[in-house]
């Protein structure tokens, strides 16, 4: 199932995530239990997270992804054909597309981590 990671309608890449695609959204909240074990939770905010692996990515796509990662580019992310568009940034700790897909020296692999902002 293809997804689009893009800046605008003219600038973007189409990605085919592997089966490890996941959306582990997070909450920012405080919790405590009272003396009767009643649980109180104060949810201050939440943000979306998306993680997936990519294989056999061409060099143009690889360059775009790594460049956006390096510049903390604000991006949009959606499933091709879908309507739900998320505002995201690439939040990998290290360069996301940094390895070749054996035996190819012009196709790349990596893991992408996206978070809403």
């Amino acid at each position: 199932m293809p997804f689009r990671l893009f800046i605008d309608s003219a600038t973007g890449v189409t990605l085919e995530p592997e089966w490890d695609f996941a959306r582990p959204d997070e909450k920012i909240e405080s919790t405590f239990r009272t003396r009767s074990a009643a649980r109180f939770v104060y949810k201050w905010a939440g943000f979306g997270r998306t993680k997936f692996s990519l294989n056999f990515v061409d060099s143009a796509t690889q360059c775009s992804i790594n460049s956006w990662w390096g510049g903390n580019q604000e991006l949009l992310f959606m499933e091709v054909g879908g309507t739900d568009v998320s505002s995201v940034q690439i939040t990998n700790a290290k360069k996301p597309m940094a390895a070749f897909n054996k035996p190819y020296q012009d196709l790349y692999k990596g893991k992408i981590e996206l978070e809403s902002y």
Partner: protein, 388 residues
């Protein structure tokens, strides 16, 4: 007394999982909430008459907070922390910037509340002292003058006063008026906050800031409305009983002669039951800047001090979540606790509100509740007196 909020605000504060929690940090009319990484803890006490400050370290990567450096008058902008649910918020803290420290890509702001202004201004000078004489001034008159004429706060005599809770001040004045408590004073350059501290101590009253207003109170009988907590909304409760705070023989020096430098009156109030039970605990209150003009006025303080300190009273710390948020200083609380059982009624005298986690710690006190009748069982000989 409590914040003036709607029933839905109350419901949300008591909810286990309230929706639409809102935290805001405003500088003037601009909202900088998104820059706050860690929200401050706000602490208040009924007797802490000095500027309270909170600090925030904010990201300044794109120079968002350079406007303080570019125009220093921006330090006078009012900074406010707001907390609430949806569109309805309260203001637990508000003040002006005391210090901005730029370091790397961050800016650390230290913000102080309204007491800051009062700590920067004086009442009188050595050459031109401010004198209250004639034995016609209530303590409330003197503090009103101090904060408005000399402290620069609003002198509007109605509930629209933005700086002073006028309704509370009227009640404060009524207490002294009803007891005919009169004072004189001579201030030769004391800071306004120092004047307030003296009056607070010499009248055993409460002076604090809440909702960005200065509040004056002299606690009396327990209100009929008591905030009750129990195991379903209390995280923890601890109770301390301190023998050190006891006073059962209070001396008050009054009628100070500014020419001779001597007090003309000394009154004494002794709580003999307490002396018999706990031994003699004496204290003297006197002040050469602010003093009672006659015996009856001085006795008013002496009696109050022995009533509030004549026994080792319970001082609980009650730890809750947001259900404790709306309990303000002076409100009465009780706790039904599985370990301690049903509690006495206590008065909330201070709190700490952690805006980051929503935790509220209340510091209550049994001593500042005046009951119509208090049976001191220490005066009874023993079970044979009761005929049991």
């Amino acid at each position: 007394m409590g914040y003036d909020v709607s029933s839905s605000f109350l419901e949300s504060a008591n909810s286990k999982s309230p929706a639409d929690l809102v935290r805001k940090f405003m500088i003037g009319t601009s909202d900088y909430s998104e820059f706050v990484n860690k929200w401050p803890t706000i602490k208040r006490r009924y007797d802490d008459v000095r500027p309270m400050s909170v600090s925030l370290t904010l990201p300044n990567v794109n120079g968002e907070f350079n406007f303080f450096k570019d125009s220093k008058v921006n330090l006078r902008k009012v900074c406010a922390f707001k907390f609430g649910f949806g569109a309805e918020t309260i203001t637990p803290f508000s003040g002006t910037v005391k210090r901005v420290a730029y370091s790397g890509a961050s800016a650390k702001l230290t913000i102080e509340d309204k007491f800051k202004q009062l700590s920067e201004r004086k009442v009188g000078t050595r050459e031109a002292p401010v004198v209250y004489s004639g034995s016609t001034f209530l303590p409330s008159d003197i503090v009103w003058d101090a904060v408005t004429c000399y402290g620069g706060l609003s002198s509007i005599e109605s509930t629209s006063n933005p700086d002073v809770d006028y309704a509370a001040w009227l009640e404060y004045a009524a207490v002294f008026s009803a007891d005919t408590v009169f004072t004189d004073a001579k201030f030769e350059g004391l800071k306004v906050t120092e004047v307030l501290r003296k009056v607070r101590r010499m009248t055993d009253s409460a002076i604090f800031i809440e909702n960005d207003q200065l509040i004056f109170r002299r606690f009396g009988l327990a209100e009929t409305s008591v905030n009750t907590f129990d195991d379903t909304n209390v995280k923890d409760i601890s109770i301390s009983i301190d023998d050190d705070d006891m006073i059962n023989q209070q001396f008050v020096l009054a009628d100070f002669d500014t020419d001779t430098g001597e007090f003309q009156i000394e009154v004494t109030e002794t709580l003999s039951g307490s002396v018999n039970s706990y031994g003699l605990r004496e204290q003297t209150e006197s002040d050469k800047s602010f003093w009672y003009v006659n015996s009856s006025s001085a006795l008013n303080l002496a009696q109050r001090k022995t009533q509030t300190a004549g026994a080792p009273f319970e001082r609980p710390t009650i730890r809750t979540g947001l259900s404790g948020l709306l309990v303000q200083i002076g409100d009465t609380v009780s706790v039904v606790d599985s370990f301690f059982g049903d509690s006495n009624i206590w008065r909330n005298l201070g709190y700490s509100f952690n805006m980051d986690t929503g935790a509220v710690d209340m510091n209550a006190d049994e001593s500042q509740i005046f009951r119509l009748f208090r049976l001191d069982i220490s005066e009874l000989d023993g079970f044979d007196v009761l005929g049991g």
